[in-house]
Subunit: 436 residues, 2 copies
Amino acid sequence: MASDTQISSAPQSGMRDFTPADVRLRDWATGVITSTYEQFGFTKIETPALENINLLRRGEGGENLQLIFEVLKRGDKLDRVLSDAHSKATKVDRLELADMGLRFDLTVPLVRFYSQNSNELPHPFKAIQIGSVWRAESAQQGRYRQFTQCDIDMFGVKSEIAEIELLQATSEALLKLDFENFTICINDRRILAAIAAFCGFEENRFDSVFIELDKLDKIGLDGVVRELTKDGHPAAAVEKLKELIAALDPTADSVTLLNTLAEKTSADAEAVKGLQSILAVIGEHSQGRYKIKFEPSLVRGMGYYTGPIFEIKCDGYSYSVAGGGRYDKMVAKMSGRDVPACGFSIGFERIVGILADKGFVPPTSTTRLGLIFDPGRDQVSDVIKAAGNLRKQGFAVVTQAKKKDVKKQIEQLSAQGIARLCMFRGEVENPEVKDI
Amino acid sequence: MASDTQISSAPQSGMRDFTPADVRLRDWATGVITSTYEQFGFTKIETPALENINLLRRGEGGENLQLIFEVLKRGDKLDRVLSDAHSKATKVDRLELADMGLRFDLTVPLVRFYSQNSNELPHPFKAIQIGSVWRAESAQQGRYRQFTQCDIDMFGVKSEIAEIELLQATSEALLKLDFENFTICINDRRILAAIAAFCGFEENRFDSVFIELDKLDKIGLDGVVRELTKDGHPAAAVEKLKELIAALDPTADSVTLLNTLAEKTSADAEAVKGLQSILAVIGEHSQGRYKIKFEPSLVRGMGYYTGPIFEIKCDGYSYSVAGGGRYDKMVAKMSGRDVPACGFSIGFERIVGILADKGFVPPTSTTRLGLIFDPGRDQVSDVIKAAGNLRKQGFAVVTQAKKKDVKKQIEQLSAQGIARLCMFRGEVENPEVKDI
């Protein structure tokens, strides 16, 4: 039992309370996203928040591995770790203290879920996941330690129809979420590898090349060259990359750009064909409602991607609002079975943040009504009956005892989004309703 | 980085993966509950999964305090604890290892939320919370270590209108969830206290009397007498309780029973009046669709209740499917402000378990359709266009490459709840649709 010292009522650092208005917006957004994804044949699954600590530490998470919230062992298991160290006079090994951890993304749990439940699942399997993830980030503006991820993934589809449906479904969801002027940027890990190989970078250091290349739109070509040089890559390779990128025609359309680059670097023919198909089909399907473009400097952080990678960017925002790609080797690592996989994740907190910033108010289907009664005069049973009758008329009814300052009370009801009012005067059957 | 030893793909002990069929049922149930509660003027809020460990340990949780999943401190904070113990050659104090914990209920976080956000909230405040809680229970059949709780709470209403609306809202939700033949059992902590005082139990041991009395329907009056005697309560008090309970007329209606008992024990008049009103109003409102009865041996485990307490039981099930009560002192403990409070929690896992056991399938608004194409013949762009046209007709479309055994493939689609089928043959505009 802890002492009675005052405990702050604020949520823990980097975590948030959501008021009714917050939840209304968030639930509306998840509702729109879910129903759109369902139209595309995806179905929702859920996994626990806690996973085996060894699964989380195993290494698909990149830098997120440093950010795991670990759950302390309990009872005798914990005591054994502490007692052993004490009796041996050694320092306790921190890696021995936890047996589980909070998931830092939805992809690692999904792959475990698929390995475990594959026999009960349809093939191909198209999953929606909307849930919280936790990362022990250092707290800073707009970076949360618990936040919602919103993923779709497709297991068992090798062809680019997987990427196309992921891109379509997410674009349609964004349109329904009141977004416009957004662009899908697409690349392929195999194109990136071809570029790096063509320039003569060392194959075991490709990832380090990609990390710098990814910064092209932020630090410019000179910046990328500087960083690559600082990282100790061969000067000839850096120079060749500089020439290659400088020679690209920024005004060229995506297909021309892709074909030029692919020819020059002898890129994987299947990768090129896949991207061409995605660019063409999405371009046609979008009917000008959103754009798609080939972006050879797009990298995506995670090392597990094996094929096409993509992001969605909105005009006016520097960050992407969705990102994903193909990760064909990951299921085999967990289950031993070779299953192609592909996923797309909406940056849910960014989306909701943008909607809130522009003052977006989600539509509601029910009219809320305030029923104000006088506790000194009205019978409880009459108030309850009147409220019941109003609910039968389709109102969501908030009963409330009359306060001293009724005018202020009505203003407060209005501020809660309550649009209609009933000042109760005992008329149980047909209470009088008016607009606030 | 952990070693590459094989890690099981099963979820952690006591935790569950939810397949699409599971989630469909669970989401339907939370949808029904939410929309019903909204009709009664409640609005949804959310709090983080993690709370300050000292808040959780502080003691509103009863036996749940032993079941907290604690989150390990990180970085230097953890290192300091381990290094200090090592340099002083003491055993590490397990209470020093964690700074946060996973919430074990939604009530402790709600009270913190209310204390923190009160200025932005309506008064009275009517909250819906639906979320996961975690308890380090020893794993056993039907007992989960992560499960969903589904609570409504009302802050700032002193009159029994609070209890009535909680009971009404939850009963209406249960009816919409396909439940019938259920009974609300109600009592009041002040009636229990009057009984204990009347019998002559020691006031500081009332809680221990209540714990045994709570077992009346399981172990019978003789069993309760035995347990109370074993606990060392005064023999005269035990005997007086035995006589009091034995003298109650089991065929009496609730109001008569309440009045008889109240008169005999000189129970708090306000408590009796409140219960009378709740029994009368709910009795009338229910119109025979469910029952309500006064149950003097109902206790409810949590020590924080101060007034009416209630449970809902379904015929044929020994456990309750919902429980709650009034806890007027809890907000003051956290915030110093005296705010009456009252809550009701649906046993969500039990509800969903009962629905699943009886094979209940939730209604769906969208028809799912399987679009089977021949990857050797059909163009990706045509398949995508046809799928788009079918989606415009309102179908949720699952595209799928033709498998070798088409008959089996169609059976599998049907097993996923897919009701219609399109065997694609290039007819983009008007693909032919038939029932499966």
